[in-house]
């Protein structure tokens, strides 16, 4: 401001007190009504606001929309696609008693092992499949294979499901991830070292069932029931419109719970750190000189801090009390560590804008610094700020997801879209819906915020409008 030094200060008077002279400023239209009018005519804004509104309603209403408990595990219906409510037979699962058949003749070595005969189904429910066969002469043990297609030959059998362990055991019981579909069980005799090349196959279709203990845990059957064999009963398992995850939890209920957590983290953290960065960057850029220099060094310092280490540190420092989900430490850590990039961006903009003639004009007109920051600098930076904010929201969601991916995310039973995606990636090959739904939710949220950001930016850009 050296150029002004030889002009007497009393020639200048503050202009703010005289509204009649405020024409140049007032012509920029009242801010909010103009914005509202603009947005109302923009399809993107209406759609994105609608989507955000629906998401927020869904997050807030949660259990009111879909009453299932997001933590309830029905292991028998794990990793399923969309399914209706179905009846399941309650069965008693006791420890398996294998059938032993010991006949001296059968234990003599045989020149060639035959394939087992008379395969017979003893139990066929999704809790347990049990079958038996007639003893094969010379067999020490039997290997059991399970396929979902009829095996063509020995090489087609794949990995053995298991083998008999007791001497003379001629039965096998299986409970590994059974579903109500066709299974082909094959039995191969083995003389202890080598396996016969012949086998016998049995087709079994298990009936939907739930174990007594599990049914009691879920409160579907009274705790004092012991006997379900003489008085068989069925229970109704709930419907899952979007299917279930790897632990048999309802995906829709979890998505709603995840919405609450993810949106809370995203919106609160993003707003807070963009606001912090905005104020910081504006002050630094406007102040300039040594203040700017040192403020930016502090920002560099914060950027260079190892995020992961400090995230872990903050997580420990704030602690996660019993029953809490660990969301607050995450938000605080995000805000404390993420603001500098916004600050740098805003500072760059301020440095550029403060050289604009209208700022000098305002300064000449006697406007205060605060007035200039809020009336001139901020409105002119809104475009870049809104873009930053639009990206800050997914950024916060992704940071949470990354932390979930390395096991540092929200604490179960709480969940988030990021945590669900992280689980989903593990199961991508076999059960893609577990990834698709949370990923879709993240996508839609990001899309909505981006469209809103765009629409806002265009609406605020008065020059475009005219």
């Amino acid at each position: 401001m050296n150029t002004q030094s030889n002009i007497p200060a009393e020639l200048f008077e503050p202009a703010v007190a005289r509204p009649t002279l405020d024409v140049a400023v007032a012509s920029a239209l009242p801010f909010w009504p103009a914005l509202r009018r603009q947005l109302r005519s923009d399809a993107r804004a209406i759609v994105s606001l609608l989507v955000i509104f629906i998401l927020v309603i869904a997050a807030v209403a949660g259990r009111g929309l879909w009453p299932l408990d997001p933590a309830q595990q029905i292991l028998g219906s794990a990793a399923q696609g969309s399914m209706r409510a179905q009846r399941a037979l309650v069965v008693r699962t006791t420890i398996d008693e294998p059938i032993i058949e010991l006949s001296p003749a059968a234990l003599l070595p045989a020149p060639q092992l035959a394939s087992p005969q008379h395969l017979q189904v003893l139990e066929a429910t999704t809790e347990r499949v049990k079958f038996r066969w007639k003893l094969v002469a010379g067999a020490h043990s039997y290997r059991i294979y399970r396929n979902t297609h009829a095996p063509r030959d020995h090489a087609d059998l794949g990995l053995p499901l298991g083998f008999t362990t007791a001497r003379g055991q001629v039965s096998f019981s299986d409970g590994l991830l059974l579903r109500p579909r066709d299974y082909f069980y094959s039995v191969v005799a083995s003389d202890g070292a080598d396996e016969a090349k012949t086998f016998a196959t049995l087709t079994i279709t298990p009936q939907p069932a739930i174990g007594l203990l599990e049914a009691q845990l879920q409160g579907l059957v009274a705790a004092d029931v012991h006997d379900v064999t003489s008085a068989p009963q069925t229970v109704l398992l709930p419907a899952h419109p979007l299917g279930t995850d790897h632990l048999g939890r309802d995906l829709l209920a979890r998505l709603l719970q995840g919405a609450r957590v993810s949106l809370f983290i995203a919106i609160s953290a993003a707003l807070l750190y963009v606001a912090l960065g905005l104020v910081y960057g504006a002050v630094a850029g406007f102040a300039g000189g040594a203040i700017d220099h040192w403020m930016m060094r502090i920002a560099d310092f914060v950027i260079a801090l190892p995020f992961l280490l400090f995230m872990i540190l903050l997580r420990i420092a704030f602690g996660i009390a019993p029953g809490e989900s660990g969301v607050m430490p995450l938000v605080i850590a995000l805000v404390l560590l993420s603001w500098p990039s916004t600050a740098r961006l805003v500072r760059g903009q301020v440095l550029q804008l403060r050289e604009e003639p209208y700022i000098s004009a305002a300064q000449l007109a006697g406007a205060g610094n605060l007035y200039i920051i809020f009336r001139h600098l901020l409105p002119n930076m809104l475009g870049v700020i809104l873009v930053t904010l639009a990206f800050a929201i997914p950024n916060a969601i992704f940071t949470e997801a990354f932390l979930s991916f390395i096991g540092m995310g929200v604490t179960p039973p709480a969940t988030s879209w990021g945590a669900m995606s992280s689980d989903g990636v593990q199961n991508l090959l076999i059960h893609p819906t577990e990834l698709i739904w949370p990923a879709l939710c993240i996508s839609v949220t990001v899309l909505a915020f981006n469209l809103l950001g765009d629409a806002l930016r265009d609406a605020l850009d008065m020059k475009v409008q005219r």
Binding site: Q72, L75, G76, A78, L217, P322, G407, V425
Partner: protein, 536 residues
């Protein structure tokens, strides 16, 4: 500047080193595999992890070794004699170091003393403690030459014991007992085993390439005394990643010969009809209860209530969902030897009483003893791995719905989890145990009151007496009776709740044969492996 230079070099020569890695090469007897992580160290004095042991088992050899069926057979020693008070080993004369010099008794004496001197700071020093004066040497109270081991000439080693040690032969197969050549190690100083060129080998393979974090290559050692029995010419390890699906993708692409499968990749592999092989790991997994007096879990009825609602087969069949994992009630896995055969066949455990009614009964007892109506949250300390998290969520929900006890899962970074376990900062911890050697005591003394690994601080004079008795005698039939008593106490007292015995499943190239897995202090074993084209 050198980093910039390296980047430029990398840019320039990036595709010169290009070659298509093939999973198996029949003509060259060559295979490629992936490792889970970079070996933390290949100095046998300090190695304490599975990946390092895997490499060391292939490039080094101790006095004895385990064969494909995990039985002890001759290694550098061709004969041996085990007594109550010590052991003697006679070394073969055709065992050579990779520089052509013979492996002598002095190399073993040097290595064992080196393990124990405090300056080495070996984590596995304790595994030598059965040797006379070993513990005192390690504490710095005695000079290393007072260790109870002597070289008699070049080819005989005499070992004196601190106390009877019926399982000592198995210990000599452990990597910490490997020989080291004094002149070579001293010449390299601190950089011994820092790189492939800083090592001497006496095992069936040589480490010829070690690009840290990226690429290792093992090649057949032509000077190995039993080289005729080794058929593989090269084991190439061009990939290092812990990501199970990345490894499986590499297998599907044909770049590697074997890939370890997890729940998801197993189902995919089955659906694609990939040949698979299942290996026992010998490991036991369990829930460890904190028995310190200020903890809810110190109450035996609460522990029994948890035992009563927990169905092991639910966990193995539906939560982990991979074949081969065996639900168990015992402290001793199926691989533990008994008097003549398997311990578990000779002393089958009696299953504990289970069911909702029993759980409610025990829970009521626990509540009246503790004088509480509402349960405070219990802290479940869990590892951050995917399966660890899955199991933790299962247990959390089990205790919540079954017993109305809220559970807070505490998952932290690895070192913090360990720290919390050591400090006793938990109610229930998910833990596991891998055997170090072929004897039931490696599991049995886990719950002795003096064992640092007894993180729940189970302190039973009767149990301690049984461990002492088993340690004091070499009579296997007596010892097995003691172990069977321990097994009973475990089911009654529930200081830990065994969950399952683990297996590993690998997708394997059908042309690769003869791969086994070491149960004791090791991993996959390719020493007997070979490649053979499939019959058309």
């Amino acid at each position: 500047m050198s980093a910039v230079f390296r980047i430029l070099l990398l840019c320039l020569f990036f595709n010169l080193s290009a070659f298509a890695a093939d999973g198996v090469d029949v003509a060259g007897q060559r295979i490629s595999i992936a490792l889970k992580s970079e070996p933390p160290t290949l100095n046998s004095l300090q190695a304490s992890d599975v990946v390092s042991s895997f490499i060391l088992n292939h490039v080094m050899e101790g006095l004895l070794q385990y064969n494909m069926r995990n039985e002890l057979v001759a290694g550098v020693a061709e004969r041996w004699q085990l007594r109550e008070d010590g052991a003697t080993f006679w070394l073969r004369r055709n065992a050579l170091w990779s520089d052509g010099k013979p492996v002598t008794a002095r190399d073993f004496v040097f290595a064992w003393r080196q393990v124990l001197i405090p300056a080495t700071a070996s984590r596995y020093a304790f595994i030598l403690f059965p040797i006379k004066n070993a513990e005192r040497v390690n504490r710095g109270e005695l000079p290393a030459d007072q260790l109870g081991v002597k070289a008699i000439g070049d080819y005989q080693i005499d070992v004196q014991f601190e106390r009877p040690c019926p399982y000592f032969l198995g210990l000599t197969a452990f990597a910490t007992y490997n020989p080291l050549r004094e002149d070579f190690v001293l010449a390299r100083g601190g950089s011994y085993a820092a790189d492939a060129k800083d090592m001497l080998f006496n095992g069936p393979f040589l480490l010829t390439r070690w690009d840290h974090g990226a690429h290792l290559t093992l090649q057949k050692n032509k000077k190995y005394w039993n080289a005729a029995a080794i058929r593989l010419q090269e084991i190439d390890i061009p990939y290092i990643t812990a990501d199970a699906s990345a490894v499986f993708n590499l297998f599907q692409e044909g770049s590697i010969a074997m890939a370890q499968l997890d729940t998801a990749t197993l189902q995919e592999a089955s659906a694609r009809g990939a040949p698979m092989q299942l290996f026992d790991t010998g490991a036991l997994y369990f829930l460890e209860f904190n028995l310190q007096p200020n903890r809810m879990t110190a109450n035996v009825h609460l522990r029994r209530a948890i035992q009563a609602i927990f169905a092991q087969e639910q966990l193995t069949d539906k939560v982990i969902g991979m074949p081969g994992n065996l639900p168990t009630f015992s402290l001793f896995p199926r691989s533990v030897k008994g008097i003549n055969g398997n311990f578990r066949d000779e002393f089958p455990p009696t299953p504990p009483p289970r069911g909702m009614a029993i759980a409610k009964q025990e829970l009521a007892l626990a509540q009246s003893e503790l004088g509480i109506k509402q349960w405070p949250p219990l802290v479940l300390l869990a590892s951050v791995s995917a399966t660890g998290k899955r199991q933790a969520e299962y247990f959390q929900q089990l205790l919540q719905t079954g017993l109305n006890i809220p559970v807070r899962i505490d998952n932290q970074i690895f070192k913090l989890t360990i720290e919390k376990m050591n400090r006793g900062d938990f109610d229930i911890a998910m833990a596991g145990w891998l055997p170090d050697f072929d004897d039931a005591i490696t599991f049995g003394d886990l719950l002795a009151s003096w064992n640092e690994n007894n993180r729940g601080r189970y302190n039973s004079p009767r149990y301690d007496a049984l461990v002492n008795a088993a340690n004091a005698t070499g009579d296997q039939s007596k010892r097995m009776l003691y172990f069977s008593e321990m097994q009973k106490m475990l089911i009654d007292d529930v200081p830990i709740l065994p969950t399952f015995e683990s297996t590993e499943i690998y997708a394997i190239n059908p042309e690769l044969h003869g791969v086994s897995r070491a149960l004791f202090g090791g991993d996959l074993d390719f020493r007997h492996a070979y490649v053979e084209a499939l019959a058309k």
